[in-house]
């Protein structure tokens, strides 16, 4: 082993001489270059992972689908179905479904009272029966069109091939369904909004005031240190533990309140929007306090001293000077806490988000589902079409988060103040 190429700071008593010096320097430079490439490549790997993640999502959310119908609509009528009158549609329905089924629909809601749209929907569902026989990913759809066409012709001769974007307007507004093609995130979006609204109503005022306490009011006492350590440690508690806390306290112990039984709601248990919002509030609160603190600390001391110097009380100083100056920072922190709450899944699974509900929420005592829960649910289902709607729901979630964060960055730059 040659000591010249193996120079390192710890080799004692050896100094390279003459031509060795150049060789020594060359080796060290080479080693430097190699490691620089390695350091850089860890960032490349990170970027590649991100790119692959996005590619997988987009690959799953668009592509050809083979749509198959039980009956060609043209066989039913020589005019488009939309132009037919309600009576003609009822006749089509009577002719094509069993008499028993027809009577059942009539019993559920008499045909004379149904709207034309509702009859048309029945015809489309029961008679025409559009269903997706096969779905393909974006990459194969673009690169291997001929093969897809051949497969579909061979296996589903009556199916029609069309390019489908799994994320579309119906997807955003429709409620859940057990058929992926007909499923949507409409009630999950509303559920997310309800839960976030409750969380924010609680967390924003309490978080800001908590930050004010820690920065402006507290003196260095044992309980101040306890609260401070406690908040920092709470931020590191796994989110699923908050779910368990919510399950025990809000869902179970406070069930009369969170189910709405105390307010006259009867058909519900504790697994409601209110429980979810409260649980999420406990989870986000430490984060919000820490963010608010940062923003309040950034307000220079001179502003407070000027206010006290004019004889203002502590609360006057905080309310009229510190908080207005800290507002942009607090807003940014609020948005960051909000986006955390948006993507959080685990605690809501524990407190029992419903994986299958078709109704839209209209009060805090309703069962709920949120976008991340839908993603979880659809990802864990077998079948490529469920993957596709999971990917479409992920796009909805990521775009929402992107918009929120862009707003936070804009606010930060727009209101940035230099003292």
């Amino acid at each position: 082993m040659s000591t010249t190429t193996n120079f390192d700071g710890r080799s004692t008593g050896y100094l390279p001489e003459g031509a060795d010096i150049n060789r020594n320097i060359a080796t060290r430079r080479l080693r430097g270059k190699i490691w620089q490439t390695l350091f850089f490549s860890s960032l490349v790997i990170g970027s590649l992972a991100l790119a692959t993640l996005l590619y997988t999502i987009i690959d799953d959310s668009f592509g050809y689908i083979a749509v198959q119908t039980k009956i060609d609509p043209e066989e039913l009528s020589d005019r488009p179905l939309e132009e037919l009158s309600k009576e003609e549609l009822i006749e089509i329905l009577r002719a094509n479904i069993s008499a028993g089924l027809f009577r059942r629909f009539d019993r559920d809601e008499p045909f004379s009272e149904r709207s034309k749209e509702s009859v048309l929907q029945l015809v489309e569902e029961r008679v025409i029966g559009r269903e997706v026989a096969a779905a393909f990913k974006l990459t194969e759809s673009l690169l291997e069109r001929e093969r897809i066409e051949a497969t579909v012709r061979e296996r589903f001769p009556r199916a029609e091939l069309e390019f489908h974007s799994w994320i579309n307007r119906e997807f955003l507004t429709r409620p859940m369904s057990s058929v992926p093609f007909l499923a949507g995130v409409g009630n999950a979006i509303l559920g997310s909004l309800w839960v976030i609204a409750i969380t924010m109503l609680l967390v924003v005022p309490i978080g800001i005031l908590g930050g004010v306490y820690l920065e402006e009011y507290a003196s260095d006492t044992w309980y101040y240190r306890l609260i401070e350590t406690n908040i920092n440690n709470l931020a590191g508690v796994p989110s699923i533990i908050y779910g368990i806390l919510g399950l025990a306290i809000f869902v179970r112990a406070l069930e009369p309140i969170t189910s709405g039984a105390a307010f006259g709601v009867t058909d519900s248990n504790g697994r409601t929007i209110l429980s979810a919002g409260l649980t999420m509030a406990l989870l986000v609160l430490p984060l919000m306090i820490i963010n608010a603190r940062e923003a309040i600390r950034a307000v220079p001391q001179s502003i407070r001293q000027a206010s006290y110097g004019l004889g203002a009380t502590r609360w006057q100083t905080v309310w009229h000077h510190v908080l207005p100056n800290a507002l942009p920072g607090i807003l940014t922190g609020t948005i960051l806490s909000l986006s955390r709450a948006f993507g959080e899944t685990a605690p809501l699974i524990v407190i029992g988000a419903s994986t299958f509900i078709v109704s839209y929420p209209d009060s805090v005592f309703d069962k709920f589902t949120v976008i991340p829960i839908q993603i979880y649910n659809w990802t864990s289902q077998p079948g490529s079409q469920f993957r596709s709607i999971a990917a479409a729901a992920i796009i909805v979630l990521l775009v929402t988060l992107l918009l929120l964060n862009a707003t936070a960055i804009l606010l930060r730059n727009r209101f940035k103040r230099r003292y």
């Binding site: 993640l53 799953d60 908590g210 009011y217 025990a248 979880y376």
Partner: protein, 319 residues
């Protein structure tokens, strides 16, 4: 305005000396505000207390039930609530396996990224690279779970190792994806530690003729070691508590195995699966998740405290 001020002056001038009370007036509003603000700060104490009470209470019921005893809980490796066997180790090993795989990915990559960003990159390059890490950090974990199940397992692992050897649900896929998820955390905490090292140390090293690599690895990294260690420990705690990736990709059934290509449920994954269904509050399964959660809380709390201790104990202080 002006008139008001004059009135004020006249009035105070009218008061004979010695009567003015210079001591602060007692303001009840201030007192009330102070109390409210204190309560808002102290609510976090309520959260902690509630967590501790709830977990201990239900775990007490669990350990008090006839099917369970502590030696079985901490000493055996089968977790089958149906047959009344509760050995935490089958859940614990998979939690440790996935977390260690995650750290094996996140620590070298995160540290490499941190060294590059702090020691090599120009401000412009940094401006382009930093957001990538921030986006990675902002992706919700359920999305990573989807990624592990639809890409990492079928395309990478089964593509490289074959369908027969790699199960659809496996710890390796969950661990690798979790590593990517934690990478930004390790990178940003380490980078903070590295950039806190004073410039004079680097200049001293360059002055002695060291190359950039030698300066980074021999002077800057050792000086920032406490911060980097803390980052690794916090990352470990994050990995242990992470739920969605393992719930989706690691498997849905407890199993005592050290083969990363097999499926095995972690502690968090088990809690999520069991509580997701409608379980009866009286069942032993319900109380068992509190016992698991207590162990989980204990492990993560220990790691978080350890990281704080490492920072305080090994911090190199410069002026």
């Amino acid at each position: 305005m002006e008139q008001e001020a004059r009135v004020g002056i006249e009035r105070s001038a009218a008061i004979p000396p010695g009567v003015i009370n210079l001591r602060g007036r007692r303001r009840f509003g201030e007192r009330i505000v102070e109390a409210i603000v204190f309560i808002c700060g102290a609510i976090s104490i309520f959260t902690t207390t509630a967590i501790v009470i709830v977990l201990f209470q239900e775990a007490w019921l669990f350990f008090g039930s006839p099917e369970v005893d502590l030696t079985e809980f901490f000493g055996t490796t089968t977790w089958q609530p149906e047959t009344g066997r509760f050995g935490i180790w089958s859940l614990m090993t998979s939690t440790l396996m996935t977390s260690i795989i995650a750290l094996l990915v996140a620590v070298p990559l995160g540290l490499g990224a941190a060294i590059y960003l702090s020691e090599y990159a120009s401000p412009t390059v940094r401006g382009y690279l930093k957001p990538i890490l921030e986006v990675l950090a902002g992706v919700p974990t359920v999305v990573y779970g989807y990624f592990a199940l639809t890409f990492v397992t079928p395309v990478i692992l089964q593509g490289l190792l074959g369908r027969e050897t790699v199960e659809i649900y496996n710890m390796l896929s969950a661990g690798l994806t979790m590593g990517i998820m934690i990478l930004p955390l390790v990178a940003s905490m380490s980078e903070d530690a590295l950039s806190a090292v004073p410039r004079s140390l680097r200049e001293g090293s360059y002055g002695l003729g060291a190359t950039r690599l030698e300066t980074s690895v021999r002077a800057v990294v050792p000086a920032a070691l406490s911060g980097i260690l803390a980052a690794v420990i916090v990352a470990m705690s994050r990995a242990v508590g992470e739920t969605m990736i393992v719930a989706l990709a690691a498997g849905a059934g407890p199993r005592f195995t050290f083969n990363p290509l097999q499926a095995a449920e972690t502690m968090t994954g088990h809690i999520a699966r069991i509580s997701g269904g409608d379980i009866s509050y009286a069942s032993i399964q319900y109380t068992s998740i509190f016992a698991i959660a207590l162990v989980l809380l204990f492990v993560t709390l220990l790691l978080n405290l350890l990281s704080g201790w490492v920072v305080r104990r090994f911090r190199e202080v410069y002026e």
